[in-house]
């Protein structure tokens, strides 16, 4: 599968990280946690949409894998209580979109992949994956 070139930063991600500054008490990690591993999620029933998070550089890729008349979309939430932000792949079957995020090191991201209509922003009911947590 050919990946499309990197897109610009996702604007909403910058807004999301602002909220992190509101935490008054600093948390401390005494030892390094597990190395962040890449992860992926498929839409149910045939993987018409796929999302994949690459911890190095914090990329959330969205793939439209079937010519089913729907776009693939990744919904993601970030540490700090914000979401869902959306990354649409509305370029048709066989394409992908790179969501190049800017997340603080060690913070979590929770994402799902769904099918939808990018024009209206509508998510097709019952097409979302359960979701997975990964780390920047």
């Amino acid at each position: 599968m050919r990946l499309r070139g990197r897109s610009g930063p996702i604007g909403l991600a910058a807004a999301a990280t602002t909220a992190l500054c509101a935490v008054s008490a600093a948390a401390v990690v005494l030892s390094t946690g597990p190395a962040a591993a890449d992860s992926s999620e498929c839409t149910p029933s045939g993987c018409a949409g796929l999302a994949k998070f690459v911890s190095y550089g914090e990329h959330l890729w969205v793939y439209d894998k079937l010519a089913d008349g729907h776009s693939a979309v990744a919904l993601y939430w970030l540490q700090g209580g914000n979401g869902p932000f959306r990354i649409w792949d509305s370029n048709g079957a066989g394409t992908s979109v790179d969501g190049n995020l800017d997340l603080p090191e060690g913070t979590w991201i929770f994402y799902q992949v769904c099918l939808g209509e990018s024009g209206t922003g509508t998510i097709v009911a019952g097409t979302c994956s359960a979701g997975v947590t990964d780390y920047a």
């Binding site: 401390v28 005494l30 540490q79 209580g81 979590w108 979701g131 947590t133």
Partner: protein, 513 residues
Amino acid sequence: MRNLNRRTFILGGIAAGGLAATGTGLAMPRGARAATTPLPYPFTLGVASGDPSPDGFVLWTRLAPGPLAIDGLGGMPDRDVEVTWEVATDEAMTDVVASGTVVAVQTSSHSVHVEPAGLAPARDYYYRFTAEGSQSPVGRTRTAPAAGTLPSQLVFDVASCAHFEQGWYHAYRYMAADRPDLVLFLGDYIYEKTSSISSDVRGYVITSEVQTLAQYRQRYAQHRTDPALQAAHAAAPWIVVFDDHELKNNWAGADTTDPSPARRAAAFQAYYENMPLRASAVPAGSAMPLYRQLDWGTLARFHMLDTRQFRSPQAASGDCATIRSTSRTLTGALQEQWLLDAFTDHTARWDFLGQQVMFAQSDTDGSASTCDVNTDAWDGYTAQRQRITQGWVDRGVRNPVVLTGDVHRHWAANLKLDYWNTSAAPVGTELVATSISSVNQQADPSAAFLAANPHLRYVGNKRGYVRATLTPAQLTAEFVTVSSAFQSDPAKVTSSVARRFAVLDGQPGLKDA
């Protein structure tokens, strides 16, 4: 450093099998030794404390390295995890005066409740947790004054109704900045509802109505990811009670089939797991022992009520016969008697009823014959309201004040034995805290409505909370509002005191201040 371990009670969770004392040899945590996968940072839901007594409080955290996991288990592996807790006299945690270890277990969604005891009264303490190399934020808490002493002042915030999707939690941020002695949270901490309105500023992961234990757990976790909420919990001990949305909209306990016992048990377990509640509140299936009293020396007694589990089903608006029935109850007979007995004692200068729904009459057309009222509130249970009001009058309660949430508006009210007698003197006072973030889409009260209810002295429809400053001589209530709950940027949001009232010792009712 005093070693208080032997006096410290712990409860790892509901399935931990009751109370155990530290230092007596904990069993090896299940799976802990065999585990090889390091735990990602687990304190994503923050820390909390609650229910202060003169010698302690309850400390809370919940391990959740993946807080939004759809199974409600916070991304935790299926193994036990040892959690160390420390209490210190300083924020830098250099003077640790109590510490211990508990085991967080999956059957309690790795929540931790610790009840240190033997601490000094009327002072600040700081606390933190450590688990598998990660350290939590430091929280501030406070012990209550010693029994029989009269402190010179108590500052507490009153809050309710914090829909996660409907607004940003700026009000929580300002509560944290207050660093009050106490926070009273009067219900609707989460919302069980389906994702809904177009003005939502953020979204739930589970967009349908939550009904199972996994779903309730997940929803609490999503609320608790908010940094302003975490800061408010870390700033002061909370005293919490639930209202309806922690389970289901407008539920009434006497309807034993809806919500089902299984759903009640799930909601109560998740509530306990996510609140700084003592072991005395651990639910037993579909019942949860929640109503209780807490003393702040002889200055204040807080009667924290449960107006959901024991209430008769709501009457239809306009059904005067049902609304006025003397057999209907909002609290149940046992809780009512418990409250009246406490009125008999009235050992404190000020008696606060911390509860959920509006106490003062709020009659739409001002006519006694139509009963066009909100029947989910005390207006739907008028005979019991009359018994309780008469109860505190007959027993000589010196300063009765009702604290309320639920309605997403600030209200200040003079309480009366007969609301239709506009010249009658007040016999109590009610302060209703608006919502933290939940919207109010109803039209503002009309001039005719306010004229028909002259005991309602103030109404405000902005998000915020009530800040109360209590001395032996006076209660000062500040109705705090934030400029916007839709603006995400904290730098663009301000808070202000929309209205200030005083209640003077021995003089029920509101005075401008």
